[in-house]
Amino acid sequence: MKKAFLIFGAALLLAFSEASCLEAGETVEVSCPGPSATAAFDEAQVKTAAPYTAIEAAGESAALEFENHEENITFRFDTVDIEEIPETMPVLRMRPKVIDSDWARTMAEAIFGDNTLYEYSEELNRAEIGEKIAEYEDALREEAIKEALGEDASREEIAAYTKAIEEQLDFYSSAYEYARDEVEPVECLWTFWPSTHYAQSSWDYAGRDTGYTDRLPYGATVELCAQVTMDGLPYRFNVNNREAEDFRNHSMYALLMPPMYPGTPDYTPWMVENGVYSGREPGAEEVEAVEEKAREMIEAMNIGDWELDARVESGRYAYLPQEGMGYGIMPEDLYTSYDIVVDCKRVYEGVTMTKHPMLMDMRSTRPGASNYYFEELELRYCADGRLQNLTYWSPHELLESTDSGVIELDIGDIKSILMDWTAENIQLRDSLSPEAELLDVEVEIFSIELGLSRIKLDDTDFLLIPTLTLPGMYTLEYSLSGETGSDTRGSEASPVDILVIDLRDGSVIELGNP
């Protein structure tokens, strides 16, 4: 499968370097112009693409539709606009960056201003622990177990259930000795702890956890959690540094933290009463003001350059769970709420990073896989301009910047690649079982984006390379064991990468996880 992909990658090279000298159908030997930083390409015998119909020059909008050679995949382009590709673009060497205590504090101050942050705590006071003990004791009574598991529960089920309750009972019984009569909030210590430090079911009543403020422990995952109130709303501020040997990932988020869980009866009323859900659509000036506010905050956070674009987004909600769609209520009968979302794209040396789907296979060793989250920032505000949620993933430090020549590419070249697609390309994305027969695929390509994309260089570093990305969605129909089925991947709101081209050499790279 991988080899097939490399072969048609080589076909692309051929289209760039040899097409003018060859006639359709002629077979040539092609070797790569040089090793890619992501993968070694084999020499391969490839066929030239048949000459394609000339397409309008870059800059003119035109819809395009064509099929692959096997005539089972249809491609539709919403636009064939390609931004003008400069002669050179930067190639940046990057390394994942730890969010240390100082930086965490800087970001928190940028987000929350003068509001005081307190250690996030699920600590229970002594009386509450006593209640927990009583609760678990009651759960161990024979009648309670029968009620929970039924009369026909097996001995093994009862043993497992009882064991789980006993473990909780032991935990809280042991905690009772150390519990405080009153739990007073502690101002944020700006210290990183093991992840288990903050959970109620593993709260460190005995004070045994080791905290870190300076050097983070190698091979560990540590967290810093705080809670804060700003403009009348409660938030949780969290920094997570995963420095484990298999992969490194770092993140920060500031999330609205209502006192109850979503889906519980009081959740939506709380959101409405506190102005988070608002039926008032903000005007253009308000949206602009939020974008400016976000820009100032980002600058103060010291997280680099970002391209921002604020817009209004609406959502629907039911006031009470029993009034929701699960109870037969139609979407149009729900309430509407408006948020202001700020789309953020990272910019390095004047070039925007392309947003790719979030990777799921964190330990992937496939060539071109990036192993963990791309650098991303997401911002959501209430209609009145108060922050709702901020998430910041995977900061990087820039180690080196070089200029690279980039190839010329037009829509005809892209068409040529896609026409060579076969069922294997779909299987590569894990969308189709190897035993299934592909009947039909409809691919819609939303745009063609020029930007920087991250690829893996070695076990520690990554490269941001110039790429052309085609985000879109596709629906496939297949036959398996005598039955037909269909599947859709991607959407306008969450597109998948249909094609990503390395502009340094024109090779195709499989960035996204299947």
């Binding site: 003990i133 009583a134 004791e137 161990l140 009574r141 097996s154 001995r155 093994e156 043993a159 497992a160 064991k163 009972l169 032991d170 019984s173 042991s174 009772y176 000795e177 093991p194 992840s195 288990t196 593993s202 460190d204 005995a206 045994r208 956890d209 080791t210 422990p217 091979g219 560990a220 995952t221 540590v222 484990a244 040997e245 298999d246 296979d361 330990r363």
Partner: protein, 325 residues
């Protein structure tokens, strides 16, 4: 010298109940010659050795069978109606094994007796426990062991200390949490630990828990096991050359009568044991949906460098001992 040789043979067998050794050593008729006594000792040793070997072949002596603590049962895999636990330190007959069994037996029956008493009086089930451990406050050592071993009154504390003393074992005096990691764990003052982590396996991850126990201390942790007789057991040499014992059981699921579940509906419980020089390592892992669970169990064994863990003896070695498979 020959008498000492006989005793030496007994002692070198290692896993024989001390009582046998004592009986053999004390078998001194006034009229028996030294030579006859030595021969007798050697014959007894040979007989016992052959019995032990036969038992080992029959029930994977160094695997689950040799580590099964059955409360209220006969101590063999598959026997006994009471609760069963896996010995985390020491095989059958060792001081650690015997002490752990005795402590678990006492703890369970004592707590049950106290709860029943509370029930009979119409009182809260666990009110008999002194949650503040006033009975141990005068002595730092007593307080520490009470916290670690789940001791709730003076009677329990006395029994714990008596058992440890009887078998010449230390008690854990300090238990902490791992300095780092994504899952919960416990680390003790002598390096013993329990640690849960995600083991990468075949483009996925399996949650495994590893228990490391140096000999010479009564383990504070316990590992319950259900239906020990249903485990398939075998020895295995890992890719990294460690000799381990694997025990695997298909766990029951609720299905209609005459329904044959597909591989995806099955779930498995796996135990992997490895002995080092002075310590025991136990791994537990459960998973579902595997059509070839024996392969998965061996793959799990290959994915962890048991030798390195036993040589290093510290929880910090776990991360480096994971071998991607």
């Amino acid at each position: 010298m020959r008498e000492n040789l006989g005793l030496a043979i007994f002692e070198s067998l290692g896993y024989i109940d001390p009582e046998y050794i004592e009986q053999a050593a004390n078998s001194r008729g006034g009229e028996r010659s030294t030579l006859r006594r030595t021969v007798r000792l050697l014959l007894i040793a040979a007989a016992l050795l052959s019995l032990l070997t036969a038992a080992a072949c029959a029930s994977a002596w160094f695997g689950l069978g040799a580590r099964l603590i059955s409360l209220g049962g006969q101590g063999e895999a598959g026997a006994g109606e009471g609760e069963s636990y896996v010995s985390l330190s020491g095989l059958q007959g060792s001081p650690e094994f015997l002490a752990a069994g005795q402590w678990l037996e006492f703890k369970n029956s004592y707590e049950q007796k106290m709860v029943e008493g509370q029930l009979a009086e119409g009182e809260s089930l666990y009110d008999w426990r002194d949650l503040e451990r006033g009975f141990a406050r005068e002595n730092e050592y007593d307080l520490a062991v009470s916290r670690i071993y789940g001791v709730w009154d003076e009677a329990m504390l006395k029994e714990l200390k008596d058992i440890a003393g009887e078998y010449g074992l230390s008690l854990h005096t300090r238990a902490g949490r791992p300095e780092s990691g994504e899952l919960e764990g416990t680390v003790y003052e002598n390096g013993a630990y329990k640690y849960g982590f995600m083991l990468p396996l075949h483009d996925s991850y399996n949650l495994v828990t590893v228990y490391y126990e140096p000999w010479g201390t009564l383990p504070a942790m316990s590992l319950p096991i259900y239906a020990p007789g249903e485990y398939e057991q075998w020895e295995y040499e890992t890719d990294l050359g460690a000799r381990v014992d694997i025990a695997l059981r298909r766990q029951p699921i609720d299905v209609p009568e005459n329904y044959e579940p597909s591989p995806g509906e099955l779930s498995w419980d796996c135990l992997i044991f490895c002995r080092g020089d002075g310590a025991d390592l136990t791994l537990r892992c459960s998973w579902s949906g595997e059509p070839a669970p024996q392969n998965t169990a061996e793959d799990i064994a290959d994915a962890l460098d048991f030798k390195a863990l036993l040589e290093d003896g510290s929880i910090s070695a776990v991360a480096g001992a994971i071998k991607e498979k």
